[in-house]
Symmetry: C2
Subunit: 526 residues, 2 copies
Amino acid sequence: MSITGEMIIGRRVLRGAAGELYSLEAATGKKLEPSFGGGQVEDVDQACALAESAFDAYRALPDERRAAFLEKIAEEILALGDDLIVRAMQESGLPRPRLEGERGRTVNQLRNFAALVRAGRWHGAVIDSALPDRKPAPRPDLRQRRIALGPVAVFGASNFPLAFSVAGGDTASALAAGCPVIVKGHSAHLGTCELVGRAVQRAAIACDMPEGVFSLLFGAGSIIGQALVENPAVQAVGFTGSRRAGLELVRIAQSRRRPIPVYAEMSSINPVFLLPGALAARAETIGRGFADSLTLGTGQFCTNPGLVIGIESESLETFVQAAAAALAVKPATTMLTPGIHAAYTKGVSRLEAVKCVQLAGKGVPGQGSNDAHAAFFRCAASDFLADPTLEEENFGPSSLLVVCRNLAEMRLVAARLEGQLTATLQMDDADVPMASQLLPALERLAGRILVNDFPTGVEVCNAMVHGGPFPATSDSRTTSVGSAAIERFLRPVCYQNLSASLLPESLKDDNPLGLWRLRDGVLARE
Amino acid sequence: MSITGEMIIGRRVLRGAAGELYSLEAATGKKLEPSFGGGQVEDVDQACALAESAFDAYRALPDERRAAFLEKIAEEILALGDDLIVRAMQESGLPRPRLEGERGRTVNQLRNFAALVRAGRWHGAVIDSALPDRKPAPRPDLRQRRIALGPVAVFGASNFPLAFSVAGGDTASALAAGCPVIVKGHSAHLGTCELVGRAVQRAAIACDMPEGVFSLLFGAGSIIGQALVENPAVQAVGFTGSRRAGLELVRIAQSRRRPIPVYAEMSSINPVFLLPGALAARAETIGRGFADSLTLGTGQFCTNPGLVIGIESESLETFVQAAAAALAVKPATTMLTPGIHAAYTKGVSRLEAVKCVQLAGKGVPGQGSNDAHAAFFRCAASDFLADPTLEEENFGPSSLLVVCRNLAEMRLVAARLEGQLTATLQMDDADVPMASQLLPALERLAGRILVNDFPTGVEVCNAMVHGGPFPATSDSRTTSVGSAAIERFLRPVCYQNLSASLLPESLKDDNPLGLWRLRDGVLARE
């Protein structure tokens, strides 16, 4: 599969005219061929106009057609073969097994959404039958279903060049909902974007989807992104990335004449609470597990454990020593981009310079210009509570242990933290009373609560919540992973006294789609 | 029941120290006794601090306790007896049967939410069992439920002093979700607010709810409202009112350090599309029905039919004549407030002055200073499309007929309109093909689509959507009426490997609450 540097607009490919962009080889920072043409506002307009024109036809397709399209995308991604993995390795610096695993996850995610579309729960069908004899006034026939919002703009993440990028979770869930998608390709992995984008385009053509159901644009800076979010055709935005960029997209979306929702997954340091019983029982095991989780993927996970909270004790020191020992033999590994590497190094230096913060452990420095090694710090809870900058995410394998004097201080830390994607409890049976006391605060803090596990690793399933209170995301009522991600792109519509000939299939009396429906207050498949 | 002019903060009542406020008698504009003390920012802080302290206890109550509380509120409102109706009549100018009906609706709404809480679907329970033998990695145990967002600020509407006010839909759905509520009482019906607020307070005490689950504040201007939306304890806002005020609340909420959702129901002109077959068959009936809907409650409904769209024909003229004849004998009626009356009169004068707009019919002028009569205008679609001000809501019994040359022009009008709460089709069997063509545009336009009915009258049921694209509401994915209104105040939380002793009842293996749950992909009550 050759990479041409072209963008995808509906069924066409074309080279952008606004300058040349290159992906950089993560390990060396050198330019990778070919160059990519940057898009212009006119390209955004064209892609959005096509998406708009495709929307009504696409959302009206039978569930089976959309499901088959999602499965065909998965098939076409697999058909890219090793070319995709090799290019993604070059561009991201991530190792082969990780990228092969991520491809599997991406493909499974598409298939899961296909299954979800077929299962039909997404319709949200509700029927309240007419009550012609009701007094004082009859009740009309009222039926509700959910429809797609409209074209969706997707901004991929640098840290998952497959699973959170061109055909990642946002794209899969938006397409599943019936929304055309326009992706702004991430500049850190342009070649990977093009390969996957062409796979989606091939699938769209093979499945005879309406033209405009998918487009892929490139562009340096923020011009293309801003134009996308401002375009009147776009009805929602999916984003994974930095807090600064996410908040900027929210601002643009709110400034439109007709504001639209932005689902931005932004910033999380994923606190891990070490309860005394767990530490007494297995401080060393927890220390080693923590070191593994911290350094996984060079710490470049949204769910990286960037904060650990414990109560001062001998076993807490055992944990620190075990973590430090494990980190001391962890080799440095390549970060995704020189920019991320520079920001990480700066973040570590910043922490090193803070008076109340001590270094507690570190990894093995590397040779490559873009290599990063782990950094583990500690400070007292009183100092942590006094300095809000200590709570800022430092994207990479850096973490801070906050040492509390007692449970009350631990609870205070939990209550003061900003919103998180995850919160983790390391606990033993003896810790149940303490955990019960912490749990309400953790529920308010995070989208996912883990026990005796580490937050890295996000299952794609029905129960998953990859979301959380601000600033973890811009909308705590949503998730960007798992089947509930589809709900971000749907809205309810109610039909009053619609004649049978006009009713959508999902709401017809005889339930031709065999859906679970809430019918006169009873959940039934009738 | 005496009205004292005091605010309610938790279990206390106190008189606000920031000046005196009076409700005005709608019919005369005269001050009604007693005076109300205006609240200060410190009162907001106290109410919010109490709400915050009540939150964890309140959301953790068994479903039955919250349901009983909602039912007790209904009972206490009924126990207010005729005092409530008499005061609401004075303050709102609405007639007795309307207010008695609205009281019934308010009470039923509270009971419906009680039933919804008991039914347990609100938990949104999902279980994905562990797969310890899965390759390459085992799947942990993952479970999801929904929890309440936190304290909610509610701003009532002037036009429903009972059903959209202190114990109206926003309050009922937020309390049902497990959120404490702080109401900013509407200055147009302060006495009604106090009576209902005291009923809620009595219910909270009788049901031994945590103190702070409900507070009611008064205040002139925007100081109290702004302080409420800015308070860090507040996690969501429910609002019904003008576009200007709604957008201001959204702006404040977005400017917080941690932004929160605002559910604002703002502006809608509820287009009615007259299809040719329906006009040919029953133009006069439609005209009379339209006149009734337009003048119901002096046109002061969110769903008032402020726009009619038809294709030029003889039968369209018959419709106009029938509507004009019906309006010509409709007496003027009292508006809610002098301010609303002044704005309506100004809006009518503005339309009268527009060159391309003609008067098509009007009601009987009244004697009272606050009386309003209907005004029915017409213009050509080409003029309507050229002048965006013709689409602005004029709250009251005013409507504009847009005359199209053909179906294409009608479709263009439908596609260009701003978001609406409702869109209505008057149609006959012969119109099905035309209706099918319009339907996709109407689905994108409105939250509710009606056939051969008029939009005034909003059922409280499972299938209702009282919401719609901007500017009808600030969040098209939600409804403020019907059982789905509860979802505005909930967010999902995922639990990974939580031990049985810590799991909430809704997610325990043996399903002690008997909930419908999505368990390993299958909807079941096991």
